[in-house]
């Protein structure tokens, strides 16, 4: 065991991908069939908020967690962290059940609306967080210096947190999450309240962590950032994972298709090229034609020119995360409020 632990530390120092270690958990995070019911305070009826949710994150992976407001993202995160209990199903972190102190020591968490201790200075706050993670002495002081610099708050180290702006608190939150150099980071809306410079700083920190082989579970509504950072995304809707897809696979979804933008478009022009065009979108004078295959681009352009249209742009089409998100969220099957109400169960078990 001792040999394994020392090897673990060596590998962590090198920043290698931990998946290659012998005996190391393949899944850093595993959620299987989790159901969660909430009961309103004054009623016996209970509402199912997570419907047998399953997902996993592999070592070194950046997993994006997307969903509209109220879909169950924060509830899922709280179940993963043991802040609330799953009514059924299982959650494991580093192959250990949720709440195990050995696995929790390897987790860093940034809550959605971080509230820190206003009576503490940033240095005192990070000292407290480090002590809770079992750090101390010179090692803790060095780490505090390093993370304060990483989040660009060195000048504010001795200031009380009650004087911090929302963006500064968010950065302080990130600092406490990475302080103990965790293997798994769970970040709930890490870009919230940040200005563009702050957003870039957080993105750079996450890119660096990704390079160092850390596993990141990232929940955010900022889709371009998610698209640039994540290896894979899972979309949750009404307590169910509706889609999990790798970003490489997502990009392949639109591969081969080309979008042609043209001006002076007339509806009768579509007649000669209907078989080549997959979809058409008009905005004022302009038209956006998605051509099915590369080989159809030339005849489409020639047809447009011959009929008096002006081609403005020809670009390779790819499916963006935003397209996928909107497609999955607006897909028929979303339950109405009345249907959700009918799904509430009367609590009878004691």
């Amino acid at each position: 065991m001792g040999r394994r632990l020392s090897r673990h530390r060596r590998v962590r120092r090198r920043g290698a991908v931990l998946i290659h270690m012998r005996g190391f958990a393949m899944y850093v995070l595993r959620v299987v069939g989790v159901k969660k019911y909430f009961r309103s305070d004054m009623s016996l009826a209970r509402r199912e908020v997570l419907h047998g949710l399953s997902l996993h994150a592999q070592a070194g992976e950046v997993l994006g967690f997307l969903g509209p407001n109220g879909a169950g993202k924060t509830t899922t995160i709280k179940v993963i962290l043991g802040l609330i209990r799953a009514d059924s199903g299982s959650v494991t972190l580093f192959d250990r059940p949720v709440g195990d102190e050995r696995s929790m020591a390897r987790v860093g968490y940034l809550p959605e609306t971080p509230y820190f201790y206003p009576h503490l200075s940033l240095g005192e706050f990070l000292g407290f967080c480090g002590a809770l993670s079992g750090m101390g002495g010179a090692q803790l002081r060095e780490r505090i210096d390093a993370v304060v610099e990483t989040v660009d708050l060195s000048a504010h180290r001795d200031k009380r947190l009650k004087t911090f702006s929302k963006g500064m608190l968010q950065r302080a939150g990130l600092a406490q999450a990475i302080l103990h150099d965790p293997d798994l980071l769970i970040l709930d809306e890490p870009f919230s309240g940040l200005d563009p410079i702050g957003r870039k700083m957080v993105r750079d920190v996450l890119v660096d962590l990704k390079k160092r082989g850390k596993t990141i579970f990232l929940s955010s509504h900022i889709l371009p950032d998610m698209e640039s950072l994540c290896d894979r995304v899972c979309i949750i809707r009404e307590g169910v994972i509706v889609k999990c897809i790798g970003l490489d696979d997502l990009r392949k979804l639109g591969e081969g298709r080309v979008e042609v933008t043209a001006r002076r478009w007339r509806p009768d022009m579509l007649g000669g090229i209907r078989g080549y065009v997959e979809s058409k979108r008009e905005t004022g004078e302009e038209v956006f034609l998605v051509v099915r295959e590369q080989r159809f681009v030339r005849p489409v352009i020639e047809h447009l020119y011959d009929n008096g249209a002006e081609v403005l742009e020809v670009a390779n089409e790819h499916c963006s995360l935003e397209d996928l998100f909107i497609q999955e969220i607006s897909r028929p099957g979303a339950r109405t409020k009345e249907e959700k109400k009918e799904e509430t169960h009367v609590f009878t078990g004691f």
């Binding site: 709280k78 802040l83 809550p111 407290f128 967080c129 809770l132």
Partner: protein, 255 residues
């Protein structure tokens, strides 16, 4: 142990930076100071008045600090979600509660130390002598406050600060009279009444064991064994309260 110390230190820091602690301390010092100026009115019992008021002030301020400070600390952390940062680290919920209790008790110790210092100065100002019973009385008041802190901690795991304050003050009143309850039942009650009162007698904290003020003020002898027994009682009662607090807190969800 490491995490308990960290939580306790943070709680202590938070407590001493709370305005309520400074206000309670100021109130206690003013109360004791007033006794110095009013004591000449009691001819021949000047020192007794100063001592009586000072010991009562220490006890009252201790109770107020325990209830007002302890009652809000856990609730505030849960309500503002600061507790997420603690419980998502390798910190067991029992360790968190024990740390919280230790931090509040440390703040109470600070209050007692300051007030005892003021009391000693007030007595010395009147050229009076300090008896060991005075310090024993302060120590027992501290134990009483520790028991109340543990009761506060129990209530704060499942109810609001207002109800925590109310329930703790009720228990404080009932605990101060629990000895009389037993005497009353043995003299006037039937068999059924006796069982009920006995049950309450053992369930409620018997705070009378922490009251040595009469002996301290009047210079009466006291037994060191009673102080030791009171220490043991405070330790066991507080441990039981924290045990039940942990049982409740372990089941609690943070939505």
């Amino acid at each position: 142990m490491h995490t308990i110390v960290a939580v306790a230190l943070n709680t202590f820091r938070e407590s001493v930076r709370e305005k309520i602690l400074a206000i309670a301390l100021l109130f206690g010092v003013i109360l004791m100071g007033s006794s110095v100026f009013l004591s000449p009115l009691a001819v021949g019992a000047k020192q007794k008045i100063v001592m009586d008021v000072a010991l009562a002030a220490i006890s009252i301020i201790g109770v107020l600090v325990a209830v007002l400070l302890g009652g809000t600390l856990v609730h505030k952390e849960v309500d503002r979600k600061a507790i997420y940062l603690v419980l998502t680290r390798p910190v067991g919920r029992p360790a968190y509660l024990v740390g919280k209790l230790a931090g509040v008790v440390a703040a109470v110790v600070l209050v007692f130390a300051v007030m005892t210092g003021v009391m000693v100065a007030a007595i010395a100002l009147g050229a009076g002598g300090l008896r060991p019973a005075v310090f024993a009385s302060v120590y027992l008041s501290l134990l009483e406050t520790t028991v109340l802190c543990s009761i506060v901690m129990l209530f704060s795991t499942f109810t609001t600060p207002v109800l925590t304050t109310f329930f703790t003050l009720c228990l404080f009143a009932a605990g101060s009279l629990s000895g009389d309850l037993k005497v009353f039942a043995s003299k006037f009650g039937g068999a059924g009444m006796k069982i009920v009162t006995e049950l309450f007698y053992y369930l409620l904290p018997n705070l009378k064991v922490f009251n040595l003020r009469h002996e301290a003020v009047h210079g009466l002898p006291f037994r060191a064994a009673d102080v030791l027994l009171a220490t043991l009682y405070a330790a066991v009662y507080s441990a039981v309260m924290i045990y039940f607090a942990c049982l409740i807190f372990k089941r609690r969800e943070f939505r």
